[in-house]
Structures are given as C-alpha cells and as structure tokens.
C-alpha cells in the first residue's frame, strides 16, 4: 500500500560538497580579476557560498562558557535541535542546552515572559507578538535555523502508484469541495491509475501548528482566489476533515484510516514510509518531496527575513513547493554576558555547515543554504552584551 520514495537513497550530504564548491568558487573568483560590471559567469551555486571565515567562527563557538541553557518551542525542529545540541555538548562538555519541544506558540510565550534563553518557532513572531516583549528588553532577532518540507501523505487501498496532485486539487480536497477519490480533477492528473469511488477523508491538525501554516501558505499561493480558509496555524477545516493533535496523531490516523489524505512533516513521512504525492510546482513540474527538492525550492529565494519568510511555490523545475524554514528567536541586547555568549555561540554553531547543519541530512532535515547561513551569522554578530560588546567572534 505504501511505496518507498527512491530519492531517499540519493539523499546526499548536500552541505559538505556545497561548501567545498563554495570555497572553490571563492578561490576561482579571487584568482580572476573582478569585473563587477558584467553578470557573474562563475558557477555560483544557487544557494550561495559560505563565507571563508566559517571555520574560524566554528572553532570559537566551541569555547563558549560552561553552564546550562533552557530553550523551547517548535516540535518540528526538536529532533534536529536535540541532536545538534547533544553533539555540541560532546565537543564542549561544560555547556548543556535543554531544548523542549512544546510547540511554536508556547515557545514564543515562554520567550516573551523570559523563562527561556531562546525560542524556536516554525513561523516568526508577528508584530502583535513582538509588541508583547517588554520594550526594556530591546529588539528581537529571528534567524532561520533549519529547512523542512511538508509532504502530502495518503492511504488509498489498491493504489500503489505515486499520485500527482496540484494546487487547485489540493485546495478542493481540503476545503471539502472535492469529495471522492475518483473525482474528475484527480483522475485527470493521474491517467492510468484506477481510483476508487470512495469518499475522501481529509486528515488535518487539531492543534495550532507551523506545519499547517506552511501548508495553507502554499494553498493560498497556488490558489489566490479559490482558497478561502486562510493562512494560519489554526484553520476552520470543514466538518468532513478528521482532526488529530500532533504530527504523530495525524500520521497514525492516516495509517489506520483507508481513503485518507493529510499533510505531515517530510521527515516523519520518510521515516515512517508513507506514500506521499508529487505536487505540481510553480514551473509546472510534478515534484516528489525530498531533501534535494526542498533545498532546490529554498535556493530560489535566499533573501528571507522574519517579515518575509514564505518560500512556498518558488520557481525552478526541481523545487518542491511546500517548504518552509524554522526560526530561532533571541534578544539582541542580552542581559547576561555569560548567557548571551552561550546563546549566540551555540546558535551560530548549530546553523552552520561544519557544525550542527551537518547532522541535518541524517535526520531527514534539509540544511540551510549557505547564503542563508551567512545572513544568520551577520544577524548573530549584532547581538551585544551588558556593555554593548559583540558576543560572537572568531
């Protein structure tokens, strides 16, 4: 009933070869005379190149002062963060980071009330959230920390081929207008596949979720007028949708409910060998979600910030359209030099190739594009301590 995605075997560590490529490109650039007037003809990787001082920064990151940090937030990044922090403590044994996946919103609330050193959220804090941070705390910095995709998993008895679905069809399924598997919209996209006439059971999140946000962001982007349920972490799904809390709940529900279809984190779908759909992207190609195709989508738009963070439905033939970043949130003006140094160094190490990002592929996450990693470091360099000194250094 479920088919294994072939691309899993091609899951490569894209970070390391890309870094090598980046260094080679940098060397090439510096060797040639710079001609700034002409567009670049060197092979710049689509995701950008890592800055040359990366290694120096990483080495300094491992010299953070000893202690314990508390952090909380998104459940989506929890496996990645706990692995990265564990690896960090392996190299710098005095510093432990206790990360708890309590949910993006709960993490933000904890951050607003000052009970955690930093928070993690699948959707950056909106202006209304930022207003709740006391003015005396100063500005808030939000940086991407990892990349992920949302897979559309299904359980249709008798169908073993990978289904192809596009934006309008997905919108129709999840707002309740398309009700049976053999509806004309679905059969038109999947010629040669015999689809049953059984009713579709949409499976959605009952709790507030960043995965929901990314999925509905895509639906809105692909159907600007037809998708009316909005883009949010909580959606008023139609009565026909079965709502279950947490990714695991939705996944268990899909697995045990024939004729169901739902959206879950890619890492979960891969690890549990779900059947998931190839989704049509902005370029018109049907793309299977994988670490490579999510990365391809992210590479199309590396200039992300906390106010412009959506990367769904990007151009590019190999882009998987339902992708999104997860964000780390911290104060720019740290009130304790020790804690501040610990926070920026751990986050810097976690968000860069050669540090925590190397662990991403093994856990079915996608590493940040190098250009984004550079932006993260630029932001982290603005974090200051009690006397206004920069806390991150190489």
């Amino acid at each position: 009933m479920t088919s294994i995605d072939q691309t899993r075997s091609t899951r490569a560590r894209r970070a390391a070869p890309l870094a090598a490529l980046g260094l080679a490109a940098a060397a090439l650039l510096s060797a040639c005379s710079s001609s700034s007037s002409t567009p670049t003809t060197t092979t710049t990787p689509p995701g950008g190149t890592l800055s040359a001082s990366n290694a120096a920064f990483l080495a300094a990151d491992l010299k953070a002062p000893a202690g314990t940090l508390n952090a909380s937030g998104s459940t989506f990044v929890q496996p990645f963060f706990t692995s990265a922090f564990y690896a960090y403590t392996g190299k710098n044994q005095g510093l432990q980071v206790n990360y708890q996946g309590v949910g993006s919103g709960a993490g933000i609330t904890a951050f607003e009330s000052g009970t955690v050193a930093f928070a993690a959220s699948d959707v950056p804090m909106a202006a209304s959230d930022l207003a709740k941070v006391p003015a005396s705390s100063g500005p808030v910095i939000q940086v991407p920390d990892i990349l992920g995709g949302v897979a559309v998993a299904y359980n249709v008895p008798g169908v073993s081929a990978r289904l192809k679905l596009d934006g309008p069809t997905l919108a129709g399924i999840f707002d309740g207008t398309i009700t049976t598997w053999n509806a004309s919209q679905i059969t038109a996209l999947n010629p040669g596949v015999t689809l049953p006439s059984h009713a579709i059971v949409p499976e959605v999140r009952a709790d507030s979720s960043g995965t929901t946000y990314i999925f509905t962001d895509y639906l809105k982007s692909a159907n600007p007028t037809a998708w009316t349920l909005g883009t949010s972490k909580t959606i008023a799904w139609p009565a026909s949708a079965v709502q279950t809390p947490k990714n695991s709940g939705v996944a268990a529900s899909i697995q045990s409910t024939p004729y169901s279809i739902g959206y879950i984190e890619l890492s979960y779908a891969i690890k549990n060998k779900f059947a998931y759909a190839a989704v049509k992207n902005a370029a018109g190609a049907y793309v299977v979600p994988s670490l490579n195709t999510v990365a391809a989508d992210a590479d199309q738009k590396t200039g992300v910030s906390s106010t412009d963070f959506s990367i769904v439905n990007q151009p590019g033939a190999t882009s998987y359209p339902i992708s999104g970043y997860s964000w780390a949130i911290l104060l720019q003006k740290q009130t304790s030099d020790t804690t501040g140094a610990q926070v920026v160094k751990v986050l810097d190490w976690t968000t860069h190739t050669g540090g925590g990002q190397d662990l991403a592929a093994g856990l079915d996450y996608v590493a940040l594009p190098p250009a984004v990693q550079n932006q993260v470091r630029t932001q982290l360099l603005t974090v200051t301590g009690t006397t206004g000194q920069t806390l991150l250094s190489k």
Partner: protein, 302 residues
C-alpha cells in the same frame, strides 16, 4: 380398607396451601431472578477485566523490548544515539510525586476527618467543593499551576508537585471521608463512653478502622498523580538531563511518554512505551503492597 373421605374444604387450610403455593412459586421466580442478576454481575466482572488484559498486554508487548540496563540508568538522548534511557524522568517523577504525597496525604486526611465528623452547612459546602475539584480537567489545573507558580518562579519540579497535589487532594479528601464514615458508630460511642478525647478517638479508633479504605483512596490518588500528563506539560518544563533539584526544570515519566511517543523515530517511540510499562508496573507494585498491608491490618484488628 381405606376409605377416601372427601373432607369439606377448610378455608384456613385452603388459605395456608395458597400462601405456601404462592411462596413456592415466587421462590422459583426469585431464585431465577437472582441467578440471572448474579450472572450479569459475573459478566460485568469479565467485561471489566477484558480491556485491562488488552491494554496491559499491548503495553508489555511494546514496552518490554525497551527495558535494558541503559534504560534505567541513562538520561534521554537524541534520536540516533544509542543507549538512551529514562533515569532523568524516573528521578523527576519520584521527586515530584513524593513532594505531592507528603503534602496532600496528611492535609487531605485531616480534611476527610473534618468532613466525616461534621454535618453543618460549612461541611456540606466544603464537601461540594471537593467534589467539584475532582472534576476540574487536568489541563485547567496545569493552567492554574502555570499562572500561580510558573509565571512568577519559572518552570520547576515544585510547580509540577503543586499541580499534581491539587489533583490528588480532593480524591484523598472524598475517599478518606467515605472511609471514615464507614467506621461503625458503635465503636465511636464505645470510645466516648470510655472517656476518650476526640483526638484519641480519631487516632486510635477511626483511622485504624478506616485504614483499608484510606489506603485504597490514597492509592487511587497516587495512581492518578503518577499518570497525569497535562498538568506537568505546563509546569515542569522538561529536562533532558538528570536533575534532582525541584526548583529547576525537571523531566517526568508521563511527559516523556507523551513527547517521545509523538516522535517519528522508532527508538524514541519504544522508549515511550518502555516508560509506560514502567509506570504500570510501579502502580501495580504499590497496589499489591497496599492490599497486603490492608489485609494484615484487618487481620490484626480481629
């Protein structure tokens, strides 16, 4: 020669025969009803046992493979790292539940005594309050713990103990009161006649007589406290590392189960089931132990 004489119908004899016939026939009916009703009771007993067997079998099947030396001695580790365990959660649960028990059991039993001995409107209002408290959803208790303690002092084991204690308290109060009320009045009156003070009566008559019921009630409360997840989710903050200090964030078994069971990684899920099995075993041990204790107390009193 036998002569059959038709005696004239004696109304008294007739009536006696009629009554005896009615009693005999109703006895059959009543016995039938009795057998049927008792049969239903047996069926219900079987119905009560079946889900237990199913759930425990499931927990054992999924949790036993997780039990090894590392499981009991190591703290939780991230996905992919071998040798993870739940020792930090075990310590957290012990500390949090221990604090809750130490505070709520004496307090709850004192209030149970108060209610058992009082009949006025104040007592009725308090009894009512305790009943309502048992119906407060655990998540609301968690929210209260969050507002009352976490907002001011941060996540901690104490906040968790506060929330768990809040849940256990009304159970102990009500069960304790039921048990104390079950003590026959004759014993109370005998003690009073001997000139004992109320405190003495409580200590030497009421509590020992009611002890089996009290133990059941306390055990129910502790079992509930050990398994509650929602209040802990909002108050203890969680900790991947070992922590004995209840003023800091701690781990606990129910929250570890809740969090690990929703991971997409098989070894984390197995850890969760192993922890669930551990909880079940602990309460089983407590249950059997307290039953033996209660039985011995009953024997001694005889």
């Amino acid at each position: 020669m036998t002569v059959l004489v038709d005696l004239p119908a004696d109304p008294t004899v007739e009536r006696r025969r009629a009554v005896q016939a009615a009693a005999a026939s109703s006895l059959r009916r009543r016995k039938l009803a009795s057998t049927a009703a008792l049969g239903v009771c047996w069926v219900f007993l079987a119905v009560a046992v079946v889900p237990l067997v199913a759930v425990v079998a499931y927990v054992v099947a999924k949790g036993l493979p997780a039990w090894n030396a590392d499981f009991f001695t190591n703290s939780t580790v991230p996905e992919g790292i071998p040798g993870g365990g739940v020792w930090n959660a075990i310590v957290g649960t012990m500390v949090i539940t221990g604090i809750a028990i130490v505070v709520t059991v004496p307090l709850g039993l004192l209030v149970g005594l108060f209610l058992a001995e009082s009949e006025g409107r104040v007592a009725a209002a308090l009894r009512f309050t305790a009943d309502v408290m048992t119906g407060i959803p655990s998540i609301t208790v968690g929210i209260f713990g969050y507002i009352a303690i976490v907002r001011n002092y941060g996540y901690s084991g104490f906040a968790g103990a506060f929330a768990i204690g809040f849940i256990m308290l009304p159970v102990i109060v009500r069960a304790g009161e039921s048990a104390f009320r079950g003590v026959p009045t004759s014993l109370n009156e005998a003690a009073l006649a001997l000139g004992a003070r109320k405190a003495t009566i409580a200590r030497r008559v009421v509590v020992p007589t009611a002890l089996p019921g009290v133990i059941t009630g306390v055990l129910l409360a502790v079992a509930r406290g050990l398994g509650e997840t929602a209040p802990l989710l909002l108050t203890i903050g969680g900790n991947q590392y070992l922590q004995w200090n209840p003023t800091k964030q701690m781990a606990a078994l129910p929250t570890t189960i809740y969090n690990s069971s929703s991971q997409p990684y098989a070894d984390q899920v197995q850890l969760a089931w192993g922890a669930a099995l551990l909880l079940v075993v602990v309460v089983l041990v407590l249950s059997i132990g307290s039953r033996l204790l209660a039985a011995r107390l009953r024997k001694e009193r005889r």
